[in-house]
Symmetry: C2
Amino acid sequence: MKDIARELGVSVATVSRALSDSPSISKERRQAIQQYAREHNYFPNVIAEQLRHSRRNPSRAIGVIVPELVHYYFSSILDGIEAEASARGYHIIVAKSNESYEREVQICESMLKNKVCGIIVSQAKDTERYDHFEHLTASGVPLVFYDRICPALNASRVVVDDYMGTFNAVSHLITTGCKRIAFYGTSMNLQIGKNRFNGYRDALYKHGLTLDESLVRICDNRADAERITPAMMQMDDRPDAFFAVNDETAIGILAVVKRLGYVVPDEVSICGFTNGFRATVCDPMLTTVEQRGTQVGKEAADVLIGLVEGTLPHDHAEKRIVKTRLVVRGTTRHL
Amino acid sequence: MKDIARELGVSVATVSRALSDSPSISKERRQAIQQYAREHNYFPNVIAEQLRHSRRNPSRAIGVIVPELVHYYFSSILDGIEAEASARGYHIIVAKSNESYEREVQICESMLKNKVCGIIVSQAKDTERYDHFEHLTASGVPLVFYDRICPALNASRVVVDDYMGTFNAVSHLITTGCKRIAFYGTSMNLQIGKNRFNGYRDALYKHGLTLDESLVRICDNRADAERITPAMMQMDDRPDAFFAVNDETAIGILAVVKRLGYVVPDEVSICGFTNGFRATVCDPMLTTVEQRGTQVGKEAADVLIGLVEGTLPHDHAEKRIVKTRLVVRGTTRHL
DNA sequence: ACGGATTGCGCAAACGATTGCATTTAATTA
DNA sequence: TAATTAAATGCAATCGTTTGCGCAATCCGT
């Protein structure tokens, strides 16, 4: 701007006004300045702009905290966030907590320092204190949780309809003839653990089945599934179906069941939750609940931007629930 | 800082010096100021710091351009970049080009405006002009390519050893008894297409086999694989093995071959390239070349940071090749 | 006791933009 | 013709830091 001003013999203030099309500068000058700027491809220094406006205007950087990156669901969510953010003129700063509380705290601090306009976060597994999050909101940085929410905090959140997703999936197992349905879930102190279990339980009751505790297990990964499933299948009254909290676990079950010589889905049905890459790779293909990560990401970004731009009141806690969809494939019977 | 200065009755300059531990401030004052700052948890405004230093010091933001996000290899690379960057005090701004040239150009501009200290990029598929990249380097923003490199530009790059990876994989197929090995590759105008094909060709020659053009196809996704493979298998002298440019394609081949009633690996061997989620989900599990995305990401970040910090001369083009590793599983015969 | 070196600190100008207010010039009105 | 008003521009402060330079005060040796 200084150069332009010098070359055109005007003051920097005039240049600034001309470039922002202020009517207080005469039309001729304005156009001359704009043209000169264009020709010498001038573009404003964002840093300086930000410094000047630091009181009034937030930056256009959204912080995103992810527990891990090499993970179908989180990738999809990131994808959704990126899409929505970039469409609305924001960019995203991504950091991975590695499921560590310490790292999460560091990241929050660093993002605060780097003046993000808001943060979208899924907690690390071992996060049990929330001071760092409260500190952020206290500093005026809006927060939106996704996936792993923090029920203790009355913060905005976007989650998937775990309850109905599971309810529908289990109902489908029942209506296709399954009677003894095992449930592999996550620990009940995560919200999604509770919700999915409740969906399972209610679906059983709704169809007149009883809940058998011996069919309920904490198991959310393939290795554990491969370890505990053989014993399940050797029970006197073995399960004739499995509902797993994610596709990975379901794949583990499928591998064991096939290895033991059972035919899927004729003798054993299996249903997962995610609908990621894996679901169409296994044989038979996996019936699963589609988790719509991209949609979750978009909604999360939408809420955050709403908060940032003031469309939503700053202290408002928007709670959105994204509908799931049952995708029926080869590991369950058709009607 | 102003507040501190006022409260302690000194000038802002003194506060600044004290906080940076300048010896030109007396020890007592320095400590008093530092303590006061700590107690009132002051932290410097990064924006202002940057503005002040904009001439000398680059920012600590690395721009990362990815063609897509929901993709095993790219996720791993992003993971590696994030790990290396955060370990060295940088943060990453992630943008997805959606395989679009236009978007790629936009992203470059936006990152330039936002003063990233450098950019790590894998080109979009339809990028054929490179002005935007040249414009960046001309503006002093170092560039590191990964995966899809731009041979026309003499820029830094980190790629996987496509040639040897393929060479070894095909050699493995041959030594386990395969004689007619089909090759499903990507278009030859991508560097990786060429390199992998050459590895395939040379492995054949090395073992005294001839190259049969009818066994070479352009095919890099599952849908295409499922479409063209049946015809391959109906040839008079059908292939007894397939090498596919990625796991996804290999899975497509596997699905078709199994559907047609062939036994894998006894009658047909299959080898992929990636070693992503899919490889352990299919049945039998996939023999594949491990692509080590995380390592690629780390190296890319390492090179970029070297360029930024001046460890590497700014105009230097560092070219790194990450070794692959053959992971033998169930879709190929063992010795 | 006096000149010269320290030592410790503050002034003010940057960094690149924006903006309230003053100022100049021209046009309008009485 | 003088006074009033409107239009176009410039001055200078500001955002939060850093830093070259200069000014006092203290210290040293002689």
